[in-house]
């Protein structure tokens, strides 16, 4: 058994080990389209954030160039491709810089909630008893509550409502984290409770392994299977919560960082007088970023769930799929149909038991 896995692993081609490559290969039609669109949009979003200093024509808080002020509410022109805001900032620059703020917030909040959620979930699920019951009730209560309101309360607590770049990002991230912890907690706790009664955990107990080692080595590794999906879906929610907080005036000061929700708030009165460029572009940026991440997460979710996974052309029509022919390495470890894959894993489990 160990010998066969050792042999099959090196066989996987280099290309197939690129993240997401396998998913793109195993998808068809609409699903593949959605996945690729998600990857492309998310990629552009991330690249924009990383290269914001190079891409943006001006700084996010810049009001004048060469000594002359930009002017407020200027329509899109050659100098300012997307116009200027009521505060006299360049819209294009703020949209580009906003990607950086958004990514930072997503990363910080997701990392924080993963750590806190996983830890609480593992402890609660493994130890059980009254601690488990209390945590479940608390998390359920938080889960049922409007997340934006909770985020508002948290941001009052953390920053008193207004702050600089890192304070602001941290405040927004922690606010979002508190909202997300129950979700990670639920998933990890359920998995932990299930895994706790597995034979290998019991064997580990029998040979005298200490609880922390069991939890982090045996349980954690097997409990995190569904996390990547939750993670992408939460990233988009984090972005929306950040924008919502910014829109309510709890964002980051315009001089500290560019934030799309804040810009939309400031454009509220512009709309009434027919000024469209100050609201349209930051709004589109939010929509695109959330759309990209959601498409990515959704398609990964569908591909991981056999009931939602589109039937592959090979199984549907009996004809070989074009990518099966084009991929020379695909035959062994990767290229076979889902049915065969499932059968082989079932085989493995049988042999283990």
């Amino acid at each position: 058994m160990t010998a066969t896995t050792a042999q099959t692993r090196p066989k996987r081609s280099l290309v197939s080990r690129i993240p997401l490559f396998e998913q793109v290969r195993s998808s068809i039609g609409l699903q593949r389209g959605m996945l690729i669109a998600g990857v492309v949009i998310t990629g552009v979003f991330v690249l924009t954030a990383v290269f914001a200093p190079l891409l943006a024509p001006y700084g996010f808080a810049q009001l004048r160039s060469d000594g002359t002020p930009f002017g407020a509410q200027e329509a899109p022109n050659a100098e300012h491709l997307l116009g200027t805001t009521v505060g006299g900032y360049d819209v294009l620059s703020r949209v580009i810089w906003g990607a950086q703020t958004a990514i930072l917030t997503i990363v910080v909040s997701v990392i924080l909630s993963i750590f806190a959620g996983i830890f609480l979930g593992l402890v609660s699920g493994y130890i059980g008893g009254w601690l488990d019951r209390v945590l479940v009730v608390v998390c359920d209560a938080i889960y049922a509550f409007p997340s934006l309101l909770l985020a508002i309360v948290m941001s009052i607590v953390i920053s008193g409502g207004r702050s600089d770049l890192f304070g602001g990002i941290l405040a927004a991230s922690i606010s979002i984290t508190v909202v997300f912890i129950p979700q990670y907690f639920r998933v990890i706790r359920a998995e932990t409770v299930r895994i706790k009664s597995e034979a290998y955990v019991e064997s580990a107990k029998v040979i005298g392994t200490r609880a922390p080692r069991i939890v982090f080595r045996h349980v954690l590794r097997n409990a995190t299977r569904s996390l990547p999906l939750l993670l992408t879906l939460n990233s988009s929610e984090a972005l929306l919560t950040l924008a919502g907080l910014g829109f309510l005036g709890f964002g980051i000061e315009p001089t500290a960082a560019a934030e799309w929700g804040y810009d939309l708030n400031k454009s509220l009165s512009d709309v009434t007088s027919g000024i469209w460029w100050t609201s349209l572009f930051p709004g589109l940026a939010i929509v695109l970023a959330v759309l990209g991440i959601t498409l990515l997460g959704e398609s990964l979710n569908d591909l991981a769930d056999p009931r939602l996974r589109g039937r592959r052309a090979a199984l549907d029509t009996g004809a070989p799929t074009p990518d099966n022919g084009a991929e020379p390495h695909g035959a062994g470890a990767t290229g076979e149909s889902i049915v065969a894959d499932d059968a082989s894993t079932a085989d493995d489990e049988e042999r283990v038991s």
Binding site: G29, L30, G33, M34, V137, V138, D140, A141, I142, A144, F145, P146, S147, L148, L149, I152, V153, M154, I156, V157, G160, G161, S236, L240, A243, G244, F247, L248, G249, F250, G261, L264, N265, S267, L268, V271, T272, S273, G274, W276, S279, L280, G283, I286, V287, V290, L291, T294, L295, E298, G310, E350, R351, S353
Partner: protein
């Protein structure tokens, strides 16, 4: 292999025994279920109220937050002492809990009104907005979900799924701004903001039985112009907030219909010659509706959060608008009161939705 797999029989024999016991005792389960669900409201509200209290109080006292720059040090101290914010936290907490039990959620600092009165004045508006949004969500989400399920994996389905994701991906305030821009500013067919024009508000002002829910008040005046005015103000906010929920409904209906469309009884109905329309509308749709009712409970939280943003966008003077106003004024007593009150509302609506779901589907009771 198979013999080995089926060997842990004693373990797998346990669950049926448990099930049997449960089903025999749960004969009259509905009453017990309602009682248990009702009792669960108490810890939920208690936890949220405690959480909000502790969190808000860790930032310091609300008087310094609201009036910090405006008063001198001694004046501040005096105000803090008067309001009792210099007492031990546990005393304040117990007093706060006691007040909440008697329905007193505190008074706002900035305009000194009881929070419950704020709720009575503005709650109607939020309720009205949520009602419009739910109507839009049902009208848009459910039929489109049926279409998407019926055309599974074909062009209409692809289009509708992307539409649903767009509904989710568009923040309500951005959707609101776009709708405003197109319909109120460029086409000028609908009002920009507010709940009614001044004339209509004046007419409703002198009603004997004013409800604060403009639709009901407008109907009471019996003046078609007032009714039209109120409804035209409701269109854009209702659509902006409704689309958010419509996307969720669309996906739910789609997924559940796909499930029921694949069942044997639908196949057998089709073989008897039932038309495709009737098949979707009658046979597959009804069972698919149950999960939707359950999910509406979770949507209430989403709707309330969305209402805060929608109301700010459209200057719709409801609870959310008021909450944003108090936030800006840094009146954290008001914020705490409104948030605690909303926690109660969310818990109670979830309870009602759960009971409705249990009445419709016996499997929900446990």
């Amino acid at each position: 292999m198979t013999a080995e797999l089926s060997s842990p029989d004693p373990a797998s024999a346990a669950p049926p025994a448990v099930l049997r016991r449960r089903s025999s005792s749960g004969g009259g389960g509905l009453g017990r279920y309602i009682l248990v669900r009702f009792l669960l409201i108490i810890p939920t509200v208690f936890i949220l109220v405690t959480l909000v209290f502790l969190l808000m109080r860790t930032t310091g006292d609300p008087i310094t937050a609201a009036l910090g720059g405006k008063l001198t040090g001694p004046q501040l101290q005096e105000r803090i002492h008067e309001a009792g914010y210099d007492r031990p936290l546990i005393v304040q907490y117990l007093e706060y809990l006691g007040n909440i039990v008697t329905g007193n959620f505190g008074s706002t600092l900035s305009d000194n009104r009881p929070v419950t009165q704020v709720l009575l004045t503005y709650g109607g508006a939020t309720l009205e907005l949520a009602f419009y949004a739910l109507i839009v969500a049902f009208i848009v989400g459910i039929p489109l979900g049926m279409v998407a399920a019926y055309f599974r994996d074909r062009a209409p389905d692809a289009f509708l799924r992307i539409f649903a994701i767009l509904c989710y991906a568009t923040p309500v305030f951005f959707a609101g701004l776009l709708l405003k821009l197109v319909f109120a500013v460029w086409l000028q067919v609908l009002p920009v903001a507010g709940r009614a024009s001044t004339g209509a508000e004046l007419q409703m002002q002198f009603l004997q039985s004013k409800t604060g829910i403009y639709l009901i008040d407008a109907l009471q005046t019996g003046n078609p112009e007032v009714i039209g005015d109120v409804l035209s103000h409701a269109v854009l906010p209702g659509v902006a907030l409704g689309l958010l929920t419509a996307g969720v409904f669309l996906r739910l209906v789609r997924t559940n219909l796909i499930g029921t469309l694949g069942t044997d009884y639908v196949d057998s109905a089709r073989s008897r010659g039932v038309t495709e329309f009737r098949l979707v509308r009658k046979h597959a749709y009804r069972p698919a509706l149950i999960p939707i009712i359950t999910v509406i409970g979770l949507q209430i939280a989403l709707l309330l959060g969305g209402a805060v943003l929608t109301e700010t966008t459209f200057e719709w003077k409801g609870l959310g608008f008021q909450l944003a106003h108090y936030l800006q004024a840094r009146d954290f007593v008001a914020v705490q009161g409104i948030v605690a009150l909303l926690a109660v509302i969310v818990a109670v609506t979830n309870f009602i939705v759960d009971i409705i779901a249990a009445l419709i589907d016996p499997r929900v009771r446990y």
